[in-house]
C-alpha cells in the first residue's frame, strides 16, 4: 500500500484520539493558561477516570453514570492537589507530582490489577476503536458540549474570578476574590474534564492500564501550545480558543501517525513527544527574543 493511502487510513483513528485527548487538553488549558498553574495531577487523574469508568461499567452501571463518576473522581484528585497547594503551602508543581504519585497506588486499588478490559461486544460503549468514524462523531458531540459549558462558565461571576486569579492574583485579592478558592475551583473543573477524557479513552481502547496517563500532561500541553501558536492570531474568542486547543490535540495525533508511518520506532514515541513539546514551548520565547516584541505588551505579568 502506498504511503499516502496508509496515512489516510490512520486519519480517523488520529482524529478520534485527538478529540478525546482534546477534552484533557481543555482541562490543561484551564490550569496552564487561565490559572497560570502547571498541574501535573493530570498524569494520574486521567487513569483514575478510566479506572473508575471501567470498574463501574464492568459492574453493570450504565455507561452515562460511569462517565459522571469518572468526572467526579478526576475532580476529587484536583481537589487534593488544590488543598496541598493552598492549605499546606506546597508549590504548584510539587503538589501535582505528589497527587500523581499517590494516584498510581489508588488507581491500582481501584482496578485491583494493572489492567482492566471492557469489551465493546459485551457493553454499550460510547466510542470504540472498532468504529472510528462513529467514535469521532460521539467525541465531537462531547467536545462541542464541553466548549459550550466552559464558555458559559467562564463568563459567569465565578468563572471571571477564576480567570482574574490566574491573570493577577494581587489585584484579585484587592477586589475581594478569595484566590485560594478560585484555584480550587479551577483545579477541580480541570481534573474533572481529565477524568472524563480518561473514561472515553478507556472505552475507545477497550481497556485501561495503570500506565495510561504517563506523559498525559505533555500531550495536553502540546495541544494547548499547538492550538495557541497556529491559531492564536485567528481565534480570539474564548470558545474558539478552546476549539483551537482541541484542534491542537488532533494535529498532535496526526503528526504522531505521520512519524509512525515514516518508520519511527514506537519505543521512541515519548522521546519524540518530549522533544516536540520542548520545541513548541520554545517558539514563543524565540519570537520574543528575535522579533524584539516587548514583554509587557503581551499582557502577562508576574508581579
Amino acid at each position: 500500500m502506498s504511503f499516502l493511502a496508509s496515512l489516510l487510513k490512520m486519519l480517523p483513528d488520529a482524529a478520534a484520539q485527538g478529540l478525546i485527548w482534546g477534552i484533557l487538553a481543555m482541562g490543561v488549558f484551564i490550569t496552564y493558561k487561565l490559572l497560570d498553574f502547571s498541574d501535573l495531577t493530570v498524569d494520574g487523574s486521567i487513569c483514575t477516570g478510566g479506572a473508575v469508568a471501567a470498574l463501574l461499567i464492568l459492574n453493570g452501571v450504565p455507561v452515562a453514570l460511569a462517565m459522571v463518576a469518572a468526572f467526579c473522581a478526576g475532580a476529587l484528585a484536583g481537589l487534593v492537589t488544590a488543598i496541598l497547594h493552598t492549605r499546606m503551602g506546597i508549590p504548584p508543581i510539587l503538589s501535582g507530582i505528589l497527587t500523581q504519585l499517590a494516584l498510581y497506588s489508588i488507581n491500582l486499588r481501584i482496578m485491583g490489577k494493572s489492567m482492566l478490559a471492557v469489551s465493546v461486544d459485551k457493553f454499550q460503549l460510547l466510542v470504540s476503536v472498532r468504529n472510528q468514524s462513529a467514535s469521532c462523531l460521539v467525541a465531537l458531540v462531547f467536545v462541542a458540549a464541553i466548549i459550550g459549558v466552559l464558555y458559559w462558565f467562564f463568563g459567569t461571576e465565578l468563572g471571571c474570578a477564576v480567570r482574574a486569579t490566574g491573570a493577577n492574583a494581587n489585584m484579585s485579592r484587592a477586589q475581594g476574590i478569595n484566590t485560594d478558592t478560585m484555584k480550587l475551583v479551577g483545579l477541580i473543573l480541570s481534573n474533572g474534564l481529565v477524568g472524563l477524557s480518561g473514561a472515553l479513552y478507556t472505552q475507545y481502547l477497550g481497556s485501561v492500564t495503570v500506565n495510561m496517563g504517563r506523559g498525559a500532561i505533555v500531550i495536553g500541553l502540546a495541544a494547548v501550545i499547538i492550538g495557541e501558536v497556529l491559531l492564536g492570531k485567528l481565534f480570539r474568542n474564548f470558545a474558539l480558543r478552546l476549539a483551537g486547543v482541541v484542534i491542537g490535540a488532533i494535529l498532535y495525533y496526526v503528526v504522531i501517525a505521520l512519524v509512525i508511518q515514516l518508520g519511527l520506532n514506537t519505543d521512541d514515541l515519548k522521546l519524540f513527544s518530549a522533544a516536540f513539546v520542548a520545541l513548541a514551548l520554545y517558539v514563543p520565547h524565540w519570537r520574543m527574543k528575535y522579533t524584539g516584541k516587548s514583554l509587557q505588551k503581551g499582557g502577562k505579568n508576574h508581579a
Partner: protein, 264 residues
C-alpha cells in the same frame, strides 16, 4: 473611621535581616478625611498601607475600620471595605482581561461570586458613562485588553475600580510615582475628582512634596516606623516645601536631609 492601635510589624524576625518596620504605630482617621503620607525610603509608609490592607497580619496591635475589627481578617475580606491603587500600574488590573471585565470584577467587590453573568448590559452602559467622565478616551475601548493601556490609563482605570463601589477607605500607594510628570498630574486630577465626588476617606502615600501639601486635609510624615509629623487644618494649608524639609530634619533628629526625599 480608621482606628489603628499600637501596631508592630517585624520582617524576618530572629535573623540578621530582622527589620522592625512599624513600631507601636497608632493612627486615627476621621470619616471623610484625606491624608497624605510622606517619608524617606524604608520609613514604613508602604508597610503601613499593607498592614491596613491585610497583605499579611501585624505582630501586635489592632486595626478597626468603621467599627469592624480588621486585625485578623484576610486580605480578600478586607477588600469589601477598602479600595486600593498600587505603585506599579501592572498590579491593579488584569492585563489579559478586557477593560469592562476588570470593571465588572471591581463592581462585585465584597459580594459572593456565583453563576450569574459576569457582566450585564446595563453595567456596560454605566461603565461607558463613568469612563467618559474620566476623559481618557477609554469609553469606546471597553472590550480592549487592559494590558494595551498606557501606565497612566491603567492607573486611572485602577482608581475607577477602587472607587466603583464606594469604599470606606481608599489606599493609594505612590500611585503616580511610576508615571511621567504630565501623566502623574492627570492621574492626580482624576484622584481628586473621584475622592471629592464621594467624600472618600483616603490614605495616600506620595514621594512628591508638593502633592503632599496640596492634597488632602492632613499630612503625615513617617520616619523609622513612627509617625513623626502630623499636621492638619490651617497649619497644613500654609506649609511650604522648605518648612516641610525643616520639620523632617527636626523629627529625624539630624540636620542631614534625606536626599531621596528632596530629589523626588
Amino acid at each position: 473611621m480608621l482606628d489603628i492601635q499600637k501596631i508592630n510589624k517585624t520582617f524576618n524576625p530572629g535573623t540578621i535581616n530582622a527589620n522592625h518596620a512599624l513600631k507601636d504605630l497608632s493612627l486615627h482617621l476621621a470619616d471623610g478625611e484625606s491624608v497624605a503620607v510622606i517619608g524617606g525610603n524604608g520609613a514604613g509608609k508602604s508597610t503601613l498601607l499593607n498592614a491596613v490592607a491585610g497583605v499579611w497580619s501585624v505582630d501586635s496591635g489592632s486595626i478597626h475600620l468603621g467599627g469592624v475589627d480588621m486585625t485578623h481578617l484576610p486580605e480578600y475580606k478586607r477588600a469589601k471595605y477598602i479600595g486600593r491603587v498600587f505603585q506599579d500600574p501592572m498590579m491593579g488590573t488584569a492585563g489579559n482581561m478586557q477593560i469592562e471585565e476588570n470593571l465588572a470584577l471591581a463592581a462585585r467587590r465584597g459580594d459572593p461570586r456565583g453563576l450569574r453573568l459576569g457582566i450585564s448590559k446595563a453595567e456596560r452602559e454605566r461603565f461607558r458613562e463613568m469612563l467618559r467622565i474620566l476623559d481618557l478616551g477609554l469609553e469606546n475601548r471597553l472590550t480592549d485588553k487592559a494590558g494595551l493601556l498606557s501606565g497612566g490609563q491603567r492607573q486611572a482605570l485602577t482608581l475607577l475600580m477602587a472607587t466603583l463601589r464606594k469604599p470606606q477607605l481608599l489606599l493609594l500607594d505612590e500611585h503616580t510615582a511610576a508615571l511621567d510628570p504630565k501623566t502623574a498630574a492627570k492621574v492626580m486630577e482624576v484622584t481628586r475628582t473621584l475622592v471629592n465626588q464621594d467624600r472618600l476617606t483616603t490614605l495616600m502615600i506620595t514621594h512628591n512634596m508638593r502633592d503632599a501639601i496640596e492634597y488632602g486635609d492632613r499630612l503625615l510624615m513617617m520616619y523609622n516606623g513612627h509617625i513623626v509629623v502630623d499636621v492638619s487644618g490651617e497649619e497644613k494649608k500654609n506649609l511650604t516645601v522648605p518648612q516641610l524639609l525643616n520639620l523632617f530634619s527636626q523629627a529625624s533628629g539630624s540636620d542631614e536631609v534625606d536626599d531621596k526625599l528632596v530629589l523626588s
